[in-house]
Amino acid sequence: MKLKKLEVFSKDELEVIHSASITLLSEVGIKIDAQDTRDLLKANGARVDDNTYFVKFPESMVMENLKTVPDSFRLHGPDGSFSFEVNTSTTQFATIGTPVKIYDPKKEKGVRKSVMNDTIEQIKIVDSLENIVCSHVDVWPNDISYITIHAECIYQWVKNTKKPYGLGCLGRLASQDMMNMASIIVGGEEELIKRPRFIGFMNPTSPLHLPILMTNGFAIFTKYKQPTIIAPEAIAGSSAPVTLAGLLVQTNAEIIGSAVLSQILNPGAPIFFGTVSHVTDMRSGNSAMGSVEMGLITAGIAQLARFYNIPSRGPGAGTDSKVLDLQNGYERLQTLMLAAQAGINYITCAGTYEATLVEALELLVIDDDLVGMVKRTMDGISVDEDTIGLDVIKRVATSQKKGVNFLAESHTRKYMKSELYIPRLSDRSRRSTWQKKGSKDIIERAREKVNEILKLHQPNKLDNIMEDQLLKYMKEVQSRTFDDYKKAEGLMVDGITLPDGIEIRNNQK
């Protein structure tokens, strides 16, 4: 049978968590900054306090709206030739993170700022990997103007991959650009809605807060039915209770509150029941993504997602290590394996380290191999007459021929590839063979693989008219100023920290 799912809650405990989240939603609610979103929720049964911005969700409103959340959907690449299904029982693996630096062994510190060329290379690598199905704007192009990054990345996406793409739904203007550009690429809005190309990330701010930029962008993504990951990053002990049960109650309220909003915006809009929650390191106050507790939280979210019958997303391959060392290795496999065993349907963060702040293309290809191992683990042990193979045991054991073994048996040939995962990068040779091949460690072998992929990768041939339209659209985006964005979003928040460390400040509250 396949591996049993790891469970962290009993049935009763699951009910208790759900019930506590409902209490939180109906008695405390979620602070929602955008007036239009509060009005919409009020018109649909929420109780709204326009002074504190808190929106309280009655239980009946929650349960009613959760009914229309789809339990499966399919994501497509730019030309539609590649696609994969996300549902509540299978597992897909992808990237995602906020790397603003990239591994570079030539630099003294081993890293440097990432640039657009790195972003492109990461898209190409993911395009070529067997087990990683989707890339996202994760390797941050520091050399590109902040306000055009989404447009430039989409252009590179359509040129360099057959796989879908993910973008943060930060703001309505940028999100609308994404939809408009995707519509140009796929030949219209109708096609985009019918066969979604993009995954959006919508991160509620813990505890219990939906900032204006997020709801603005979320409204656009749900309007176009592009699957959106609702993933709070609650951190036990700092932005959530230190107790994992407390964190899960709070974060569950944040997710289902946002899910309710998505269905009011557009019933049937696909979402992921997501998490990137982890814990505070009590020595430094830093967040700890490589912690075992992150694995437990992720497992709790997987179980809650199944409770609501919504596909889940959680982090794997998470590590806090600053170098490509043993800590990096054990933390990434530990979090990856826990997420998979917990039954997370969309596991992310391949290729990242230092709590996803740094990317290494070498790790990306290693993660592809790790995912192969994890998938094999989840398949478990298949038991039937043929896999038991009494005949072959008898034949080999009683053979009169000298030195007979199972290697040259048809039974071995038939099953070796399904029973045994044959890793591409792990070294299992004898020392002399390993030495003869240059005594390379895993990182060197991974670098060779990266170089090989980049050398062989062929860009997509774009239709000339479509490319002209895209470039024209990008010119429009380039002509905007930062103030245009602020105006478009009606920014009301004090400030928001962006991945690059840039802060938008708005003092006109």
């Binding site: 000298k402 030195g403 073994n405 290697l407 040259a408 048996e409 048809s410 071995t412 040939r413 070796m416 044959i422 040779s429 004898r430 020392r431 002399s432 063979t433 003869k436």
Partner: protein, 215 residues
């Protein structure tokens, strides 16, 4: 489809009966000589060996193919060559076995398969082979190389005893001796006076080729 392509099809499919019947038919109808078929089979095994080294196929596929080929050579082609009075060309003759008090056979069998795939004539004596058995067989077939395998630290010493026995009989210079097996090392090979040491089966083939070029 050429004869070589047809042979390759049988070999890749592990169709021993098919390959034997096909070779027999060609010989009977005088469509090919046994020595020509042997050359084609050698080319097919080289192709399969290359695929294996490039990791396009795996061990069972290589060994399974080698077994099909070996059975065909032993049962059909060798007798035909002898009958026609032709001489068989090979890379060299190697007698291999696991030394006394050790019953581990897989590593040594892999070496045998790899040598065979590389065009050597292999005499695999099995496990718990005594010094006398190694030497008698080598004398009988006119071997070039004797390969001694051992998986146990406790059986390693028997590798030394084979070499001592060769010396005693004044035959040490007649044969190249290669040793291997998990607990053995290059230092051990030097210490007991072997000509070469190999860490795994692919290396064993390279080392034996080197030994014979030197010879």
């Amino acid at each position: 489809m050429s004869i070589r392509e047809k042979i390759q099809e049988f070999v890749v499919e592990w169709d021993e009966e098919g390959l034997k019947n096909y070779c027999q038919r060609l010989l009977k109808n005088k469509e090919a000589k046994a020595s020509e078929l042997l050359k084609d089979i050698g080319a097919v095994m080289k192709f399969i060996g290359d695929q294996f080294e490039k990791e396009e196929i795996f061990l069972p596929e290589l060994i399974g193919s080698a077994e099909v080929v070996k059975a065909t050579i032993d049962d059909i082609l060798d007798p035909a060559i002898r009958a026609a009075g032709e001489k068989k060309k090979s890379m060299g003759k190697v007698v291999i076995g696991t030394v006394e008090s050790d019953v581990h056979s897989i590593g040594k069998d892999l070496v045998g398969s790899f040598l065979f795939s590389n065009g050597f004539e292999v005499y695999n004596l099995g496990v718990e082979v005594t010094a006398d058995q190694f030497i008698s067989k080598a004398e009988e077939v006119g071997a070039d190389v004797i390969g001694l395998s051992s998986l146990l630290t406790m059986s390693m010493d028997f590798q030394k005893q084979v070499i001592e026995e060769l010396k005693k009989r004044g035959l040490r210079e007649k044969y190249k001796v290669i040793v291997g097996g998990a607990p053995t090392t290059e230092e051990w090979a030097d210490q007991i006076g072997a000509d070469a040491w190999a860490d795994d089966s692919i290396e064993a083939v390279h080392k034996i080729k080197e030994l014979l070029n030197k010879k």
